[in-house]
């Protein structure tokens, strides 16, 4: 009757109560089923494989790696989710964070500042670059009506080329000592974000940026649920026509939310840059923006859901390393991830349809018993 499939896909339609739990449970059961079938077909024992993953994934060192990667995934998915809430598909998170990390790393390596200020400058540069890069897509959309899907994908390619041009020894890069890799000048200790030794039994440290990720999640929730600006964004996402009639300046909202999404995307590379590599080199992780899209879908744009999705994704990525050693192809994990995303979407769609019908039945039942009123005709 009303919401489009895209609305439900992107979680702009809420589910309440027990049904909110039914959907993910349904999805997990279904994903487990499909993965088991694939494992059986490839000649591996499903339960044994799962035990291997859990066993390896619960070792202290792996836990730290899972949390660290999940931090990155989480920020990336939040950036995507900001757009999704507004009906904007920011496919360009990937290009936005890579360009932001490169330039922020170059600035951070060139500056000498006291510790907190140094970090702050690097982070602000990253946010600014990410926001600026995304604003190009936003401007194109509001002034020329260019679909942000197309423009952000193209901007990804441009960011790749632009980054490669910047990351040469003539410009921002220096040779990394002891290898044939090149990267930006390493950020001095004053610009490094200290980590925590949270997990006993390992030397590995949890990225300090995990705190920033949590703060971002809370801010995301507050922005969308408690502020006027967030209300305007949600209203625009749910019904642009209604938003216009209620006085929302939709063009402004598109531009602002695109910039906001890009600004958060600028932070995606920061945990890695400030917590581990301290330099943007040729082997800086790529593709995090696309993983963010999948996780935003998985978490249905809900900050807690995204956190769970990011941890799950990161767990599968990290613990899959053990599978090769046991002779099980580690690509099985990619199949799992894909199945989970698909089954979550399908499960939520099913539960949504059930809920909508149930609520309409409930309302008309309650009303017909409370006050028998005549029915109207016409729509």
């Amino acid at each position: 009757m009303s919401s489009t499939f895209a609305d439900r896909l992107l979680g702009r339609v809420r589910l309440g109560g027990l049904l909110a739990l039914a959907a993910p449970l349904l999805a997990i059961v279904f994903a487990a089923l499909v993965t088991s079938i694939v494992l059986v077909l490839t000649g591996s024992p499903p339960l044994g494989t799962l035990a291997l993953l859990v066993d390896y994934g619960s070792q202290p060192r792996t836990i730290v790696m899972i949390v660290n990667l999940a931090t990155t995934y989480y920020i990336s998915a939040l950036a995507v989710a900001i757009g999704f809430r507004m009906n904007l598909f920011n496919i360009g998170v990937d290009g936005q964070y890579r360009l932001a990390a490169l330039i922020a790393a170059a600035v951070g390596g060139a500056l000498v500042l006291p510790a907190p200020l140094h970090i702050l400058v690097i982070v602000l540069v990253a946010v600014a670059v990410g926001g600026l890069w995304a604003s190009l897509a936003g401007l194109l959309k509001v002034t020329r009506g260019v679909s942000e899907v197309i423009s952000t994908i193209m901007l990804n390619a441009i960011a790749t080329g632009f980054g490669a041009w910047l990351l040469t020894t003539d410009r921002l890069a220096v040779a990394v000592s002891g290898s044939n890799n090149i990267g930006t000048k390493p950020i001095p200790p004053s610009g490094q974000f200290p980590g925590f030794s949270l997990v006993p039994g390992t030397q590995a440290k949890v990225f300090g940026f995990v705190v920033i990720a949590v703060v971002l999640g809370v801010a995301y929730h507050v922005l969308f649920n408690r502020t006027r600006f967030g209300f305007d964004m949600r209203a625009t996402g749910q019904s642009e026509a209604a938003a216009v009639a209620s006085g929302v300046n939709v063009k402004k909202m598109v531009l602002v939310s695109m910039i906001l999404s890009g600004a958060v995307a600028g932070l995606v590379g920061m945990p890695q840059l400030l917590g581990a590599s301290y330099s943007y080199s040729l082997d800086f992780p790529t593709g995090l923006g696309f993983t963010g899209i999948a996780i935003a879908l998985l978490g249905r744009n809900n900050p807690v859901g995204i956190a769970i999705g990011a941890l799950l994704w990161s767990f599968l990525d990290n613990s899959s390393d053990i599978l090769d050693l046991e002779g099980i192809p580690k690509e099985i994990v990619i199949i799992m991830q894909g199945t989970i995303v698909l089954s979550v979407i399908i499960a939520y769609e099913l539960v949504h349809r059930y809920r909508l019908a149930a609520e309409q039945r409930r309302v008309s039942r309650e009303l017909s018993t409370a006050a028998p009123a005549p029915e109207g005709a016409g729509v």
């Binding site: 009639a245 209620s246 019908a357 017909s368 009123a373 029915e375 109207g376 016409g378 729509v379």
Partner: protein
């Protein structure tokens, strides 16, 4: 759906005696009349309220179905009822279409024409009733079933691929095979030529669709349907996209088709066109069939009255609450469409505090654009002043903050977030004002409390304020909107079809709220297609025709028939071929309202062409 209150077919529903809906004059509504609401008028069962009303004005109308019908009807619908959650879109529809007729189905937007056609074309399944095609009952599960039964649909919006040729478009989906996998283009081309020649469609199979004009595209659509073997064609508002010459060509084509024995169901709300092309007319109002008439027996005016309901509201003593203080003034407002043509042209009016200014007009004469221009949702030339302030350059939000409330025409598109709870819908359009917000923050407690107040004060029937707006019936959604727009002490209320698609109880309640607010000094711009509503509520009335205000009417002395004829203007750009329309136009000239000059001009133009 199962929660809908059951209603036995044919039983006269006595609406609107809901315990808590205050009604002062609702019982005088045509919908309040038992037989017009519940009984299929087309059945030979006898006269109906609507026809009674027509007869009292002119005795010339014959309502029984044509006695000379030889064979069983091509299409017959009996007691079709279709409910959507919360509303009944179609109720007890009775329709009988003779073989070889152009059968027009007329009704206001939202009367239920489209739902009916979707049912007939298998896109939706009726909850009750039966469909008979050529005398045998059918149950369509999908359009494919309807096509198999020989029913084809030409949609209002063409469904053609621009970058394919006419031939490719026509065979798409039902390609003739030349042994195995190849497509037999030669056979297809031959068949298309045959059909085109037989019906005089003049379709050339090998041109690209992108090179065709609108009229030619429509002929391709018709041919596409014929190619699939349809003998019964449904045309959904086929003239909406055509210029007058193309309309003429289309009507020539339609006559050619029926000459060859095809049956055409023609959906429209343009009365002059219907009168000129149809062999039989069925009128739908508020989801049910209210009359079946012959075009020779009715005038455009009478048809308009059947469409919108014509019973006069009970005369009531009204104390004028109009003050001398101008609340909203519009001067020289012009709105241009995408093609640069003026859809609203040089419109000026003033609304005083405590005044309801009604704008009467057939839909699509610029009302929607006028409203959107006043709300600042659409660029326009001219001056709009709110009180003393020139708001012409203000964005929508500022106008709303300045005290303009807005009841939009399409509540689902413009008025509500259907998938959001009621209390969030309370905030919509008022997201900068208390009690919804405090600074940049949403004030949940304040918004929720105020939503509860609206729900109580406006009798919104809902289990709570946390249910989604989509779960409410249309009438209750509308009451919520009215309540929302009345809060925050508006100075001006722009009300577009405030009671469209709502049940009579809610309608009466909304009217009462509007009257009370008017008494409290609210200025109301009322756009409506419901003549009773306009006459009953307005302190002054203007008639809009083709984007211009063509007449001022005094609601105290005007009759719905005069207003109706002023509204239709009897189409001066579409030649009228049958007698039906002409008398109405001339009649309109005779008894035009207080502004005979302008109005008579429209009428006489039509009269000359007839």
């Amino acid at each position: 759906m199962s929660g809908d209150r059951p209603r036995s077919r044919g039983s006269p529903p006595r609406p609107a005696q809901g315990p808590s809906s205050p009604r002062r004059r609702g019982s005088s509504r045509p919908e309040g009349h038992p037989s017009s609401a519940g009984e299929p008028v087309a059945a030979p069962a006898g006269p109906s309220a609507a026809n009674d009303a027509v007869r009292t004005q002119e005795d010339a109308i014959s309502t029984p179905p044509s006695p000379e019908t030889p064979a069983e009807p091509a299409v017959e619908l009996r007691g079709i009822t279709k409910r959507f959650p919360g509303v009944v879109a179609n109720r007890d529809i009775a329709l009988s279409v003779r073989h070889g007729d152009v059968h027009a189905i007329v009704g206001e937007n939202g009367a239920g024409k489209s739902t009916l056609m979707k049912i007939l074309y298998g896109m939706q399944r009726p909850d009750e009733g039966e469909i008979l095609v050529n005398g045998s009952p059918v149950a369509f599960r999908s359009p494919a079933d309807a096509i198999a039964a020989g029913i084809g649909m030409v949609h209002q919006h063409f469904m053609l691929a621009d970058n394919l040729t006419v031939l490719e478009n026509i065979i798409l989906g039902s390609e003739p095979r030349a042994g195995g996998v190849g497509i037999d283009f030669r056979a297809a081309r031959r068949k298309i030529k045959e059909i085109s020649d037989a019906y005089g469609l003049g379709v050339r199979p090998d041109v690209m669709v992108e090179d065709l004009g609108v009229g030619a595209r429509q002929r391709v659509e018709i041919l596409k349907v014929l190619y699939r073997g349809a003998r019964i064609l449904i045309l959904d508002e086929p003239t909406a996209v055509l210029v007058p010459q193309e309309v003429d060509e289309l009507f020539d084509n339609l006559r050619g088709l029926v000459r060859e024995g095809l049956t055409i169901i023609f959906i429209s709300h343009k009365l002059d066109e219907v009168l000129s092309v149809a062999d039989a007319i069925t009128v739908i109002r508020r989801g049910t069939t209210v009359a079946s008439v012959k075009p020779g027996d009715v005038t455009a005016r009478q048809l308009a009255e059947l469409m919108v309901g014509s019973e006069l509201p009970s005369p009531e003593t009204r104390e004028s609450t109009v003050t001398g203080e101008v609340a909203l003034a519009v001067r020289g407002l012009t709105v241009r469409g995408a093609d640069g043509r003026a859809v609203v042209e040089d419109v000026s009016f003033q609304i005083h505090k405590g005044e309801v200014l009604g704008v009467a007009g057939v839909e699509g004469n610029g009302q929607a654009e006028l409203v959107e221009a006043i709300m600042g949702m659409r660029p326009s030339d001219g001056v709009v002043t709110l009180g003393d302030a020139d708001v012409s350059a203000w964005p929508t939000l500022r106008r709303r903050e300045g005290g303009i409330g807005y009841i939009p025409e399409d509540r689902h598109r413009h008025g509500l977030l259907l998938e959001a709870p009621l209390w969030e819908n309370r905030i919509l359009g008022h997201q900068t004002r208390r009690p919804n917000v405090r600074g940049p923050w949403i004030d949940r407690a304040g918004a929720r409390a105020d939503t509860q107040r609206i729900v109580d004060a406006y009798d919104v029937r809902t289990p709570g304020i946390d249910v989604d707006a989509a779960a409410l019936s249309g009438g209750n959604q509308q009451k919520l909107i009215v309540g929302r727009e009345m809060s925050g002490d508006p100075v001006v209320l722009v009300a577009s079809h405030p009671t469209r698609g709502v049940d009579v109880g809610a309608q009466a309640a909304i009217w009462d709220h509007l009257r009370a607010a008017r008494a409290a000094g609210l200025a109301v711009l009322l756009i409506s297609a419901d003549l009773d509503e306009l006459i009953g509520l307005s302190d002054s009335l203007k008639v809009i025709l083709r984007g211009r205000m063509v007449a001022d009417v005094d609601p105290r002395s005007v009759t719905p028939e005069r207003l109706g004829s002023a509204m239709t203007g009897a189409g001066d750009d579409t030649p009228v071929r049958r007698g039906g329309a002409a008398p109405s136009a001339t009649g309109a000239r005779d008894d035009a309202g207080p502004s005979p000059d302008q109005h008579g001009a429209a009428g006489s133009r039509a009269g000359e062409e007839a």
